[in-house]
């Protein structure tokens, strides 16, 4: 899921200078699970801003709202009247949600209330860690199901590097060495032969290095059939 972290309230308040009617909109999907932009976090931010408004006489009129998935236009359109009725929107969704509001209602200012941090998983209550870099070319079938691209500080394709010691990464001793974990996993699966194979360099063109990515599934597109070839020629 997408993991986020709320921006400091003081930073959000700076964006709102001169505004009166403010809509805070959260998302019930990823950022709700990462406890950064769900219903509770929207309420917390609204309370903090109301407190600032009362203290400083800012006269902010704050409305709260949470949509099912802010990255989908259909869900955002359901709160169209709220968005159009506000001077600006503070999005507590990830960058995708905030941009969806901005793209649908370009005349309205949509501000990011949180920083989109990474693609990760909840490890325990209150702890999330990164496990995917969305590189566009998954290779974890060769690495025992552990992603070296996101979990190795050097994103090494052929590891481990010389800096790993006692199963820990030299860049951060609190982090497990991804290649140590890969070795242990492959050993458990009797697939250690995989670790001796030299892997070809990764195709980074499929990652963000190749520019903005887009996927088009023709079978899902709703468009009229091109009938020009079917016309009876006289």
């Amino acid at each position: 899921m997408i993991i986020g972290e709320r921006k400091p309230v003081s930073e959000i308040a700076k964006m709102l200078a001169g505004k009166k009617k403010i809509l805070i909109s959260g998302c019930k999907t990823c950022v709700a699970i990462s406890m950064a932009g769900g219903e509770k976090e929207v309420a917390e931010l609204a309370s903090a801003l109301r407190l600032m408004s009362a203290r400083d006489g800012l006269d902010w009129d704050i409305e709260e709202n949470v949509v099912e998935r802010q990255c989908e236009k259909e869900w955002v359109r359901e709160i169209e009247s709220k968005i159009l009725g506000a001077d600006c929107v503070v999005s507590l969704a990830c960058g995708l949600g905030c941009q969806t509001i901005g793209d649908l209602y370009p005349e309205k200012q949509a501000y990011p209330g949180l920083n989109t941090s990474f693609l990760g998983v909840p490890e325990e209550q209150g702890v999330w860690s990164e496990k995917c870099l969305a590189c566009g070319d998954c290779i974890i079938f060769e690495t025992g199901g552990i992603c070296p691209v996101s979990r190795c500080a050097k994103s090494m394709r052929n590891g481990a590097c010389g800096g790993s010691a006692d199963g820990k990464c030299e860049v951060n001793l609190d982090t497990d060495c991804a290649w140590y974990m890969i070795y242990e996993r492959l050993k458990l699966q009797n697939r250690l032969d995989l670790i001796t194979q030299v892997c070809a360099p990764k195709d980074w063109a499929k990652s963000h290095s190749g520019g903005r990515r887009k996927i088009v599934r023709k079978d899902l597109l709703i468009q009229p059939t091109d009938r020009t070839d079917m016309e009876v020629k006289k």
Partner: protein, 137 residues
């Protein structure tokens, strides 16, 4: 000393028993304290602490069980995390983090609890009063 308003969120288990024990011993709560009973401090949301201050409280105290003897196991620990979060948030918006405090109490420690509440009241009295200039919307 100007009149201080304190909202005390009190768990219905060990913390409330401690208050009752103090009361039986003749030690009554300061007039500044308004009690809000809750089933467990772990149920308290950060919003409730912020809203209390926004609507006129000078400070908020959360009174729960001892962490290693919490009636609901982890309620006090969760509450402490949320109190710390609100302290950080208050610092961020340039307000005094001392306005929010957590006190843990065993059922038998009524006198200690009263002492800590009075100390909290004293700390709040030393802070500048909140300069509210507008209404909550």
């Amino acid at each position: 000393m100007s009149k201080i308003n304190i909202v005390a969120f009190v768990c219905e288990n060990h913390a409330l028993s401690a208050l009752k024990a103090a009361s039986i011993a003749g030690d009554s709560l300061p007039e500044s304290v308004k009690i809000v009973k809750i089933p467990c401090t772990g149920r308290l949301e950060t919003t409730q602490m912020l809203d209390s201050i926004a609507t006129g409280a000078d400070g908020v105290v959360v009174i729960g069980c001892l962490e290693d003897n919490c009636f609901h196991d982890v309620g006090s620990m969760l509450a402490r995390g949320r109190v710390d979060r609100i302290k950080d948030l208050l610092k961020d918006i340039k307000m005094e983090p001392e306005r929010v405090e957590m006190i843990n109490a065993a059922s038998v420690s009524g006198a200690m609890l009263m002492l800590k509440i009075r100390q909290f009241e004293g700390k709040l009295a030393a802070l500048p009063s909140l300069p509210f200039k507008g209404a909550i919307k």
